[in-house]
């Protein structure tokens, strides 16, 4: 945060303070003449990084209370702008303070329009600030600083006149319901308590007449007057400023108030310049008089500051996210190291176990692949012998059966061989390798007319061939007894053919 500096402007000079949490510390004072302005420019250039708050305590001020229709947005801005131009034509240093909406009628919004009319007294200083590109945060006036204090005063009533003193003079500010309505400054060249008290009495009387004339107070009620004074002046003030039917006077110790506001060195007399500057920094009013153009370099600083904060926030957030990821990475790396160690240990144990195996010149995967495939091949390589031997045993027990042809072949499950498809349609199981044995056989010619005997002989032979692993299917019989088949009589020539039949034997490999 850059240093903050306060510029107290009165009709004759500017006094510069460096603000610290303990209170403002005076740094320089500049007379309102060319050497003073030149020194002021140098002062500003040397402190170009500081933020400046200007507090004007000038007699030329204007206060107007008026009501405007309650509108929002641009209409409101334009309305206020027009009203300010109307009241304070010729000065860019003006503001409008909303006092709330009326409770009657169309509920217009009440405003206090204030303006610093002594532009010529401030303009040279502002021009110097523009030239040096000083960061002017705002221009404030003394009544609005005192307004921030009024709400905190125990003596504050519905209508109260607050009399305060500064190096510029004696200021009388009238507040209604805690809101500033009117203020004026009376130049005062002395700090003698009795003269201050006399001036207070005189000015209070004038203000009373003015307020009564404006019907801001009732004539049958005394005006409440609060004097912000130094404790050492109280006796003189009490003596010279007694209660009258027109006024009731109370005193507030400016030293005690300053201590309450955290000012380390309370004012030594009633002139509370440092106290009011401290108050300005502690409770900076939202409204200020400087136009946007004069605050340009302050706005630029705000934008730079905001961009820097956003940059830092973005970078910090990214750093946090990346940091979180890196923590996760660290955790993962630790876990990976543990798992890797476990894998290496396991691999060593496994290698130790396998070290006793005979050496081979091919990889284990190749070995597995080769032997697996060879075993598949070997399983299919038994040849025709098992089924032919089985057939031979069956023939030994069926002497009437005579073979004419046997056709043994491998069947790979039907994927490639068209004949295998036909074999499946006749009973082979798809998806596995089989050995197929097609048998063509016949029975003795003497059984040609014994159809029942033929059926029994074929069934008996089929039964002999069938086992749990070997399936037998009758492809054709010597005598077809199914209803779907045709039956013919014997040959008219008298020649008798031996009864023939076909079988298919299948064995899964």
């Amino acid at each position: 945060m850059p240093a903050r500096r306060l510029l107290f402007v009165n009709a004759t000079r500017v006094t510069a303070y460096h603000w610290l949490p303990s209170g403002p510390k005076e740094e320089a004072s500049f007379a309102a003449n060319e050497p003073g302005l030149s020194a002021f420019r140098d002062y500003l250039r040397e402190r170009s990084a500081s933020l400046f708050y200007l507090l004007a305590d000038l007699a030329e001020e204007g206060f107007q209370v008026d009501e405007l229709p309650h509108v929002q947005g641009n209409d409101r801005r334009e309305l206020i702008k027009r009203k300010l131009a109307q009241y304070y034509y010729g000065t860019p240093l003006s503001l409008a303070l909303s006092l709330g909406r009326s409770k009657k009628g169309r509920r217009d919004e009440k405003f206090l329009f204030a303006g610093l009319l002594g532009v010529s007294q401030i303009e040279p200083w502002l021009q110097a600030m523009r030239e040096t590109e000083a960061r002017l945060a705002g221009i404030h006036s003394m009544p609005f600083v005192i307004a921030a204090l009024v709400g905190k005063l125990p003596a504050a009533t519905e209508r109260i006149l607050v009399i305060s003193a500064s190096s510029a003079g004696l200021r009388q500010s009238f507040f209604e319901n805690g809101q500033l309505r009117f203020s004026r400054l009376t130049a005062m060249a002395t700090d003698r308590s009795d003269l201050i008290a006399t001036t207070c009495a005189s000015e209070a009387g004038k203000i009373y007449q003015y307020l009564a004339g404006q019907r801001l107070i009732s004539r049958d009620q005394p005006l409440q007057v609060l004097v912000l004074a130094h404790a050492g002046q109280r006796a003189d003030l009490t003596r010279n400023l007694p209660d009258t039917p027109e006024r009731q006077v109370q005193f507030a110790d400016i030293g005690e108030l300053a201590r309450q506001q955290g000012l380390a060195e309370p004012p030594a007399d009633a002139r509370g310049d440092r106290f009011y500057l401290h108050l300005l920094m502690r409770q900076t009013p939202h409204q200020q008089f400087a136009p946007a153009e004069d605050r340009r370099f302050y706005r630029l600083w705000q934008a730079r500051h905001a961009l820097t904060i956003v940059s830092a926030t973005v970078f910090g957030a990214c750093l946090l996210l990346a940091g979180g990821q890196m923590l996760r990475l660290s955790e993962l790396s630790d876990r990976n190291a543990q798992v890797r160690l476990d894998v290496e240990t396991g691999q060593r144990r496994y290698d130790d176990l396998m070290r006793g195996l005979p050496p081979i010149d091919i990889s284990r995967d190749s070995l597995r692949d080769l032997t697996d495939r060879y075993r598949v091949l070997a399983r299919r390589s038994a040849g025709p012998e098992p089924l032919l031997r089985h057939l031979g045993h069956a023939l030994d027990q069926a002497p009437r059966v005579e073979l004419t042809r046997v056709d043994w072949r491998l069947d790979d499950g039907g994927a490639h061989d068209p004949r295998a498809d036909a074999a499946q349609s006749q009973g082979a199981t798809k998806g596995g390798s089989h050995a197929l044995l097609d048998i063509q056989a016949r029975l003795p010619a003497a059984m040609a007319l014994d159809h029942r005997g033929q059926i029994e002989a074929v069934n008996a032979f089929t039964g002999l061939l069938s086992t749990g692993e070997i399936q037998v299917r009758v492809i054709s019989r010597p005598f077809e007894q199914e209803s779907g088949k045709a039956i013919r009589s014997s040959d008219a020539t008298g020649e008798i053919e031996p009864p023939k039949f076909n079988l298919r034997v299948m064995q899964a490999l």
Binding site: C318, V339, R364, P384, R389, T404, V406
Partner: protein, 200 residues
Amino acid sequence: MRDITRLRWPLFLLAMAMVTGVAMIMASRQQVDAAEAAHRQLVAKQGDLRARLGRAREEEVELRERIALLAELRTSGVIGQEERLDWVEQISRIKARRRLLDVQYELSPQHPVDDALLPGGPLAGEHEFMSSTMSLRMTLLHEDDLLGFLDELRRAVHAHLLVRECVIDRSAPPPGAPGLAGQLRSACTIEWITLRERKP
């Protein structure tokens, strides 16, 4: 607009902060992703290794059997070049010893085994299954002549024999003769299978 140039450094700082920050996040995310992928791989490997260790004893036995089979294939000449001259000589020798009537054969050029013979094709790791198809025709007195011939041939030659098909039928069936006794003809298709190393 005139003040934008006065804000160029803070804007540049903001841009740099965003670029650097996003780059940091992306870089760290990539590293975490890589570490997570490595972790998944390691855990899978760890699980696999634990399973292998759990059955290491069985695997050792299995590998011993496989190595023994490999050695047997090498000893028997199944792995290696075809020895066609030896095959022909062995056929002649067996024919003479068994006094077979007639043995005719034709051996085709060597070729990789087909899917029908060996599902999955001829490749097996660093080796390739090759085959030479033989058409064998014989005249037999008894079916045992064929079976004995095949059995003796299988044991005598340096190749793995796989009979694909055999047809046996009578050439002149004598009336009333039992079984296949008498003049029989056989026609067989036999694959002479060897394994050769694949060239890298």
